[in-house]
Every structure is written in structure tokens, then in C-alpha cells.
């Protein structure tokens, strides 16, 4: 049974980490390099209308010291106010929301593909009859974590858009246009997941319960699907938050390659234009998504295995994540 105290402590921990994320990014974006807001507003290359510039200056209190700006920004953040873009003076919350809405389907589809690829590779790598096939499947994850996503993206475009002409590389054809970018994102993020799955499957396969099940006469496929997979998949659950974060961040490259607009493209233009309030908002958003998924999986673990809640903190989280970084 999950104690309320543990849940509360984990939730508070996540909020504390979130606050540090906010403070660190504020430090990096607003404090370190001179005065980015003033520089941006008075940039002669991209002049803003006088009224907008004055409005932005008053809003961000550029005449106040950094610590006052920090508190002011934080107070507004707690009220759900993310500020206004330095490039066009529009509400950051609205801009980010719009961008996220365009990327969320892509990210969801990419997540589904990631799980599908990783599962397929791990099953082949562990259970294929031929040794050669197993070896080949084991070589795929290293390949997928080594290939830059623009390579995968451009190869897919060259083959499916130019050679075969199945998908347009320019016009948005709805769902069909999502497939190639989703595959590109999934190829990159399936590598680490496949590695953890392969490890989980091979260790679960050599557990004594498999021998018992075989002795009891359960069919091999039944053992794999109902028992080995279930046990072997547990460590990979912790990777979920990491993968979702990577999918959202990875969309910067993929959306550029596939000429899509969305959170990735918005990040790209915000960084290019050094639009600090929107970058801050994007970082907070992605980190919040990461931390919430992490919180949910940690609590789910604790619910399954009460020992975790007893040992303070989430010991599984660190160990699984560390394993994920080692290419096997």
C-alpha cells in the first residue's frame, strides 16, 4: 500500500527540483550575459514598434536589479503568467501552447514507434533461432544511438519523398506527413530503450521461474509474452520520462529537417532570436513534463514494490538510468 507521506514527499521533491530548474535557467538566461532583454528590445536590426518596446521594458522592469526581476518573474510565473515574447510582444503562454499542440501528436506517434522498434529489436536479439540474426539485432541499438537524426531524416526524405514519391516533403498531408518525422525521432530514442530491454529480457530469461514454467508445460511463446516480457520490461519503464524529454527536445532537429512548425521549430527560432522569456518557458515546460512522468512511474513502482517507498528516495531511478547510458 502506498503511504500518503511517501507520495507527498516525492511530489514536494519534484516541485523543489522544478524551482531549481527555474532558478538555474533564469541565472543563465537573464543574469549572466549583460542585459539580454534590453539588448533585444533596442536591437536596430529588428526594430519593434515604440509602444511594444516600452511595454516590454515596463513589464520586465529592465531598470531594476536582477534579483528584483527574478522575484517579479517568479511571482508572475506562480500566477500562470509566462511573460511576453521579445520578438513580437505576444503572450509566451499562448505561443508555447500553440507550438506544443502541433508537436504533441508527433511526439505521441514517435513514442509508440519507439516502443514498437525497441520491443521488436529486443525480442529478435534475445529469442531469434539463428545466432547471426541475434547478433545483427544486437548491433542495431548502437547504430541508432550513433546516427544523427538529420541523417535518418534526410535519408527517409530522399527515399520516400524523392525516389518513391509517397509523401510530399513540402506540403502538410495530415497524418501521412507525421510518419517520417515520427520514425526519425523513434529511431534515435529506441536505441537506449532496446538496450535496457535486451538486458532485462536476458536476465529474466535465466530466472528459475522460467525453468519451472517449462517443466509445467507452458508453451515457449506463452512464457515469453506473459512472464519474461513482463519481468524484463520493468526496468525500461523508468526510461519513459527520459525518452519523452528526448523526443520533445529532438523535435528541434526533426522539425527543421521536415519543415514542420511545432515546439521544436519554435525552440529553434527562439534560440536563434535569443528570445529569453520563451526559452525559459520551453525549458520549464519540458522539465515539468519530464518530472511529472518520473513522479508517476516512481509512484507506480512504489505501489508495485513497497520496499522502494521504505528506502527513501527512488533508488530504482538512478540505477536504471545509469544502465541506460551504457551501450550494450
Amino acid at each position: 500500500m502506498l503511504s500518503l507521506g511517501y507520495m507527498l514527499r516525492r511530489a514536494l521533491q519534484s516541485i523543489a527540483v522544478m524551482a531549481i530548474v527555474y532558478a538555474l535557467t533564469f541565472l543563465a538566461l537573464f543574469v549572466l550575459p549583460g542585459d539580454p532583454i534590453e539588448n533585444k528590445i533596442s536591437n536596430p536590426v529588428n526594430p519593434l514598434p515604440q509602444a511594444t518596446a516600452d511595454g516590454l521594458r515596463a513589464y520586465y522592469s529592465t531598470d531594476q536589479p536582477a534579483i528584483v526581476q527574478f522575484v517579479l518573474y517568479l511571482a508572475r510565473l506562480l500566477h500562470g503568467d509566462l511573460g511576453y515574447s521579445l520578438t513580437n510582444g505576444k503572450s509566451v503562454a499562448a505561443l508555447v501552447g500553440q507550438a506544443l499542440a502541433q508537436t504533441i501528436t508527433l511526439a505521441a506517434l514517435a513514442l509508440a514507434f519507439t516502443v514498437l522498434f525497441a520491443l521488436g529489436i529486443a525480442l529478435v536479439a534475445t529469442f531469434a533461432r539463428s545466432r547471426l540474426v541475434r547478433e545483427l539485432a544486437r548491433a542495431v541499438p548502437v547504430l541508432s544511438i550513433s546516427a544523427p537524426s538529420f541523417l535518418v531524416g534526410y535519408v527517409l526524405i530522399a527515399v520516400f519523398s524523392f525516389r518513391l514519391g509517397w509523401v510530399s516533403s513540402i506540403t502538410d498531408q495530415g497524418f501521412v506527413s507525421l510518419i517520417l518525422p515520427a520514425v526519425t525521432l523513434a529511431f534515435a530514442s529506441s536505441g537506449s530503450l532496446a538496450q535496457v530491454l535486451i538486458q532485462g529480457l536476458s536476465s529474466a530469461r535465466s530466472q528459475p521461474f522460467v525453468t519451472v514454467l517449462t517443466a509445467k508445460g507452458v508453451a515457449p511463446s506463452g512464457i515469453v509474452v506473459r512472464h519474461v516480457l513482463k519481468n524484463g520490461a520493468i526496468p525500461s519503464m523508468t526510461l519513459l520520462a527520459l525518452i519523452v524529454g528526448d523526443l520533445l527536445a529532438g523535435s528541434v532537429i526533426v522539425e527543421t529537417v521536415f519543415n514542420r512548425t511545432g515546439l521544436g521549430y519554435f525552440t529553434y527560432t527562439s534560440v536563434r532570436d535569443q528570445d529569453t522569456p520563451t526559452i525559459e518557458a520551453i525549458v520549464l515546460l519540458i522539465s515539468a513534463i519530464y518530472l511529472s512522468i518520473n513522479l508517476v512511474t516512481d509512484l507506480a513502482y512504489a505501489a508495485i514494490d513497497p520496499r522502494i517507498a521504505l528506502a527513501a528516495g527512488g533508488p530504482r531511478r538512478g540505477s536504471a538510468r545509469r544502465r541506460a547510458e551504457v551501450p550494450a
Partner: protein
């Protein structure tokens, strides 16, 4: 002091000999391919002129956007510059940038990890929470935040990638140092009068460093990917510098007619990172790991 150091040196050398022999026995076919790739890269770093007759900036007006041929192995770009030479000369910018990134991550991360493990208490708690916070931001995004703060450019992009890997190094170093710190012989060294700094330098650091070193080779591959991603997006090296990510982004406009402009430098990045990842995992667990 020398008498003190000599046995240590001898044992290090012996273990190095074992390591080399162990490695040779573990190498598979793919590892030899990876090794050969790294040798070519080393040549490109030291003496790029040996690998190509053309300069990276030499424009051949007669062959603009020429397809791969015997003369221009990987074709030419929109100014008639040889793509193979640009990749060869570009290795320096990309690999040096990644080296800077790894050094930044390694030095700062090791220092913070050791500090957290040995100081304990509030210091440890603060460092650990900051590490948690940094790890909750995807690395590429974090690198972009830092590069906005530092300004665009190839050195700044390298430092940004380094900064975004500090948290990973800190976490590994901290947990290794904590493990080693509580081993009996390390405790004994303190009890027989070794000062904390001596114990740290003599026992904790050498015994916890191997995990961090194997992480560095992994981070080197990641750094190559992130640095080329940053310059692909235009936050890194300025044109006309030959840098791999920049080569890809310069070729983007010609993807329809001259796809080699994009594919060739991307493949160079992929092969390099693959060779590094492959060899680093072979060094850790033998070649049958896949």
C-alpha cells in the same frame, strides 16, 4: 617519495599490459572496422593534406555541384569545393570541439562529484538537487540554453555541450566516490594517519576514476552529435569553416538535386560516433555484446 611512487607505477604498467592483451583478444570484425575508422580520423586530424589533394576552401568553378566521381570522391558543393576535403578538414573542428566539451564535463563534473561525496551534509544535498534539476532538462535543450547565454560560435557551442554533460559526470563520480570512500582499506588509510587530502588523492580518486573515464568515451560520442546538431541549427561554427554539422546545413537547399552534400557529412558523423561507441563498449564487456 620516489620509492613510494615506483611500485604504483609498475603495477599501473602491468595492468596496462593486461588491458592491451585483453583488448586484442576481445576484438571482433566490427571492432577492427571501428579501429580502422579511428585511424583515418587521426590522420585527418594530424595531416589532412595526406588524405586529399584539395584544400577545404578551394573552389573549382568548372565543377559546381558535381556528382561523386573519381576526381571528387564525394562530389562538390555549390561553390565547387570538394566535399571529401571539407569533411577531412572539418574533422578537426568537430573533434576538437567534442574534446573541449568532454574536458569541461569531466573536470567540472569530477570536482563537483568528489566535493559532494566527501563534504556530505548540506553541500551534498545542494549539489545532488542541482544535478537532479539539470538532468530533468534534455541535454540538447540545455546546451541551447547555455549557448544563448554565452553567444553563438564554435568554442561556445563546445563549452555549452560540456556544461550540459556536467550533471551526468557529477552523478557517476559522486556515487563511485561514495562507494570507494566506505571500503575498509580506505577507512584504514585514514585511521593510520593519512590526511583527508592524501586519502582522496591516493585512494578515492584513482579507484573511482575508471567509471568516469568509461563515461567520457561515451560522452565524447554524444558531444559529437550535439555539437554537430548545434552547428546544423546555426548556433555553432560560422561559415565558411568546414564543420560537419555546418556542412549538412549548407547542403540542405540542394537535397533534391545533390543529396550527397547532406548525406556524406552526416554519414561521417554517424561512422565516427559509432566507432567510438563500439570500441568503448568492447573495452567494457568484450565483443560478443553486439
Amino acid at each position: 617519495m620516489t620509492a613510494d611512487i615506483a611500485p604504483g607505477v609498475a603495477s599501473v604498467e602491468a595492468s596496462r599490459g593486461r588491458l592491451v592483451r585483453g583488448l586484442a583478444a576481445r576484438l571482433g570484425v566490427l571492432d577492427h572496422v571501428a579501429l580502422a575508422l579511428l585511424l583515418v580520423l587521426a590522420a585527418a586530424l594530424v595531416a589532412p593534406a595526406l588524405l586529399t589533394p584539395f584544400g577545404p576552401l578551394a573552389a573549382d568553378k568548372a565543377h559546381i555541384l558535381a556528382a561523386p566521381s573519381a576526381q571528387h570522391w564525394l562530389g562538390t558543393d555549390y561553390l565547387g569545393r570538394d566535399v571529401w576535403s571539407r569533411i577531412v578538414y572539418g574533422a578537426r573542428a568537430t573533434l576538437l570541439g567534442s574534446a573541449v566539451a568532454v574536458v569541461v564535463g569531466l573536470v567540472v563534473g569530477t570536482a563537483l562529484g568528489i566535493l559532494a561525496a566527501t563534504a556530505g551534509g548540506v553541500v551534498d544535498a545542494v549539489i545532488s538537487r542541482v544535478v537532479d534539476a539539470l538532468l530533468s532538462i534534455p541535454g540538447l535543450l540545455l546546451a541551447m540554453v547555455v549557448v544563448v547565454s554565452l553567444g553563438f560560435g564554435s568554442l561556445n557551442a563546445a563549452i555549452a555541450v560540456g556544461v550540459s554533460s556536467v550533471a551526468t559526470f557529477t552523478r557517476v563520480m559522486r556515487s563511485e566516490a561514495l562507494t570507494v570512500k566506505n571500503l575498509t582499506f580506505v577507512e584504514a588509510s585514514g585511521h593510520i594517519g593519512g590526511r583527508p587530502r592524501y586519502v582522496l588523492r591516493r585512494h578515492i580518486l584513482p579507484n573511482s576514476f575508471s567509471a568516469v573515464l568509461s563515461l567520457s568515451s561515451l560522452q565524447f560520442g554524444i558531444a559529437i552529435l550535439w555539437i554537430s546538431a548545434l552547428s546544423f541549427l546555426g548556433y555553432g561554427a560560422p561559415p565558411p569553416q568546414p564543420e560537419w554539422g555546418l556542412l549538412v546545413s549548407e547542403g540542405r537547399q540542394y537535397i533534391t538535386s545533390s543529396s550527397w552534400l547532406v548525406i556524406a557529412p552526416s554519414v561521417a558523423i554517424a561512422l565516427t560516433v559509432w566507432a567510438i561507441n563500439r570500441l568503448s563498449s568492447t573495452a567494457r564487456m568484450g565483443h560478443d555484446h553486439g
